[in-house]
Subunit: 215 residues, 2 copies
DNA sequence: TTTCAAGAGTTACTTACGGTAACAGGAGTC
DNA sequence: GACTCCTGTTACCGTAAGTAACTCTTGAAA
């Protein structure tokens, strides 16, 4: 009994330490971008490199641990919007908006999670670094595919179609959000409306221009 | 006159050399992935590092030059499909298919252009490197937005909507293509059909499942 | 013909970063 | 008291980006 409790205490102790290290890492990554060095992170935590390596294996491990944290938070929010008991179109709008609010309110975290390149000063580290967008986007795509599959009646090849749509819609949301966050050409509400219009078939329904070639 | 000709000859000479270096770089990048070292590239070209730096400034410059090459080739193909004098739906299908054929036939080039991480052996270079997807995707999005704007009558805020749709559709194509290329869950034709169905408003039109909650 | 300018090329170096021994306390446990 | 485990250190290795300083060749111009 006592030994079990002891093990428990030790476990929580190392886990707490790990959390502290992750928080230090996060501060530095938010300050220096994904190119932050292990030395810098260790210094911020008040220790030296080898401890980081003992906790996270390698730099990828540390970054993965950081990414998992934020990814889980984002996914929880999206799941809630996706499961809301409202009309389909409202649900789509709510989900898009949830995602956009997330990237709008914490752009640094977003850049870390999604954006590989063009960080900070281009003279740094030669070219670029960091990047984990692919895993996150794939997770999002699979989640959405599952929701689509279990909600919609897509006929014989519905399984396949649901997955294509899931990844496609996530990609649309991601690319549009990335561009919007960079250029801010319109309000969030307008962006959501435009995207929902697109998903609601307006591309097929809208007329050709009078003056264009118009096929 | 003679001096002008001289300058011309010198210019073409250095440009030819630059092209040769880029071709060597391409061979190595295709062999070693985006983590290819400048030393390896120089060796492949039969020279040493400083020459590469004189030609391209830094590693980013070299990679950018490589990316521009392929990006231009891809864009030319897409523009042709986008401008074909056929019905709108056929044009959309042709454009999607053109993109998918490109990434299917030269996946290594695609990975280099788009994909930052998960290359090769994960133990290399600590974490990951390379990446320029953002510039390419942004260019594609802007191109598509222009086509949409000049072809379709989108009403008062059509300018804005065209840009949102351009980036959104490109993102959809990219994400779906990336996932498809990795998992190959269906034929290219089926993928094109599913994506076109999505863009044609099937998400709005399709019925709820009989057994689901069905909002 | 000599001279000059410029490009191609080299060796050898610096700097920085990821990652790894090897070692030194300190706190609980048998 | 010896054992073990965790935390922490210093000092190092390998590799890769990027630079400085020098040489060689070539082609034009005086």
């Amino acid at each position: 009994m006592e030994s079990t409790q002891q093990d428990g205490r030790r476990q929580t102790s190392t886990e707490r330490r790990r959390r502290e290290l992750l928080e230090a890492a996060e501060r530095i990554v938010l300050r220096d971008g994904p190119g932050a060095s292990m030395n810098a992170i260790a210094a911020e935590a008040g220790i030296t490199k080898p401890i980081l390596y003992r906790h996270f294996g390698d730099k990828g491990g540390l970054y993965r641990a950081l990414a998992v944290r934020h990814t889980n938070a984002l996914l929880a929010g999206l799941r809630a919007a996706l499961d809301a008991p409202v009309l389909r179109r409202d649900r789509v709008e709510a989900t898009l908006d949830t995602y956009l609010v997330a990237i709008e309110t914490r752009p640094q975290v977003y850049r870390f999670l999604m954006h590989p390149a063009d960080e900070e000063n281009p003279a740094e580290s030669g070219f670029d670094v960091g990047r984990h967008s692919a895993p996150l986007l794939r997770r999002l795509g699979e989640e959405l595919a599952e929701v689509i599959r279990e909600r919609l009646d897509l006929g014989p090849d519905g399984e396949e179609k649901a997955r294509v749509w899931g990844h496609g819609i996530v990609g649309m949301m991601h690319a549009a959000g990335d561009w919007w966050l960079r250029e801010r050409p319109c309000s969030r509400e307008q962006l959501v409306q435009h995207l929902t219009d697109l998903l609601w078939g307006q591309l097929a329904a809208v007329k050709d221009r009078a003056d264009g070639p118009g096929f």
